[in-house]
């Protein structure tokens, strides 16, 4: 399996962290992983993206030219990265932030009102995790339990109390 996932959205939405969680979860499973963030002027301008590869084989280029999946949290990012997704690939998006859906018919699109769901769960920062739940369910890029292990590894101990809530959000995204 070779998963090549692009995460894109506004800075501050946790786009880079979403990618990190998936990469770390892959690492937990003994996969070869790479995480390549966008950095530079666009970060200041407000958009962020990262390329994450989770593979059974050694990672060649860490730069994704054909994505197996795309997770988007704003409209400009969808427009920029839609064409990167390979035919049959997956696009997961937050309908609260991406009102205009992809035009392509050769990809599988999953639209979730993730921001609204997160608010309803009482924590607006969960929107990203909700989208990750759908991504994991539809692509199998990593397993749910490895995601929990990644949270435990990356979050500071004082934030660990959030993990059960995060996992609930992940499940909610998967179930939507």
């Amino acid at each position: 399996m070779d998963n090549q996932v692009i995460f894109a959205g506004f800075g501050g939405q946790g786009i880079l962290s979403m990618g990190r969680f998936i990469a770390h979860a892959g690492l937990h499973e003994g996969k070869h992983v790479s995480w390549l963030p966008s950095y530079g002027p666009e970060m200041r301008g407000g958009t962020a993206n990262c390329n994450v590869i989770v593979s059974d084989e050694e990672v060649g280029s860490p730069i994704i030219s054909e994505a197996t999946a795309l997770v988007v949290m704003n409209q400009p990012s969808l427009e920029k990265f839609e064409s990167y997704v390979e035919p049959g690939g997956v696009i997961v998006l937050d309908t609260d932030l991406v009102p205009v859906l992809p035009e392509r018919k050769d990809v599988r699109v999953f639209s979730l009102p993730a921001t609204k769901m997160a608010y309803e769960m009482g924590n607006p920062t969960f929107a990203g995790v909700i989208l990750l739940g759908k991504l994991i369910k539809e692509t199998g890029v990593v397993r749910f339990e490895s995601f929990e292990a990644a949270l435990r590894g990356i979050l500071k101990p004082k934030k660990h109390y959030l993990i059960p809530e995060e996992m609930k959000a992940l499940q909610a995204g998967a179930d939507y």
């Binding site: 990469a23 070869h32 790479s34 530079g40 060649g60 280029s61 730069i63």
Partner: protein, 352 residues
Amino acid sequence: MKGNEVIAEAALRAGCRHYFGYPITPQTEVAHYMARKMEEIGGTFVQAESEVAAINMVYGAASAGVRAMTSSSSPGISLKQEGISYAAGAELPIVVIDIVRCGPGLGGILPAQCDYYQMVKGGGHGDYHNIVLAPQGVQEMYELVVDAFNLADKYRNPVVVMGDGYMGQMMEAVEFRDQEKIERPEKPWAACGSEMKRPHNTITSIYIEADVLEAHVRHMYEKYKAIEENEVRVDVQNCEGADVIIAAYGTCARVTKNVIKDAAKLGIKVGLIRPITLWPFPKKAFEQYAKVPKGFLTVEMSMGQMIDDVKLAVNGQNNVYFYGRTGGNVPGQKDILAEVVKIARGEGGDLR
């Protein structure tokens, strides 16, 4: 871990306890990591007033006989060239990290490989060479930074570890060795206080008399000869029976690995020669495959700098084509493949 953090951790594991830096994107995480760790372990971290000061602090620390390092990115490296030339002339073991961004001038902060000339071809004034190591990923970054300290001490020479901005920013798994193989030769030459037990030591790069300076430079070139004989490192993949051989290092080499697979599906066999030491340049690998049927393609994140060395190594025996992107753009997998297809079909390419 992030490439930049791995650089710092590798230096610490190699016994470096003295780091001097100045903030510049995209390598600032090296300084952040060092600032924290050096305070914890009682090492030295100085945020200098400029890159010029930082390299001269490294010069001072290396003069005193300790392992010392600085890190920067392209415009900062330009400022450090003075100190690097002095360190080469004074034969000081220093380690310089260059996380390359695009230029010229202030340029941008996106990744590039356009520091090849300034690092491999001198950059500073005078007859000298840096040893230049070019990792292709985070694991190799770790290994080469450790090696950089050993090579610097072994040859009393500046060693540069050069990665593009992506190398510093990307995260990959890294396996640290339990115990680093640290080679620490005695440094009887160091200016660390004579204790009145020996004649005083002098660290200098000034030799006013022509014959004396020439003798000194010739001595340095004897050393460079030994480095060229003993320290060349190169990664050669898929070159036996290849139609086209790509010459690339760092991120471009990583992209090329995907191109090799894509080309195979089209029935084209692509080889890769990836110099790990940009100086000494792996000439022999190119000589060995100089007759590759369709020629060489050099892929760089620049307007073509390493291609000069590829051409020198191929020595007119074959075509050396070029494909590069600059300004912070990275040659795309599909674009490189398109060049390969053209060359393989004998439709030519950019011969420079």
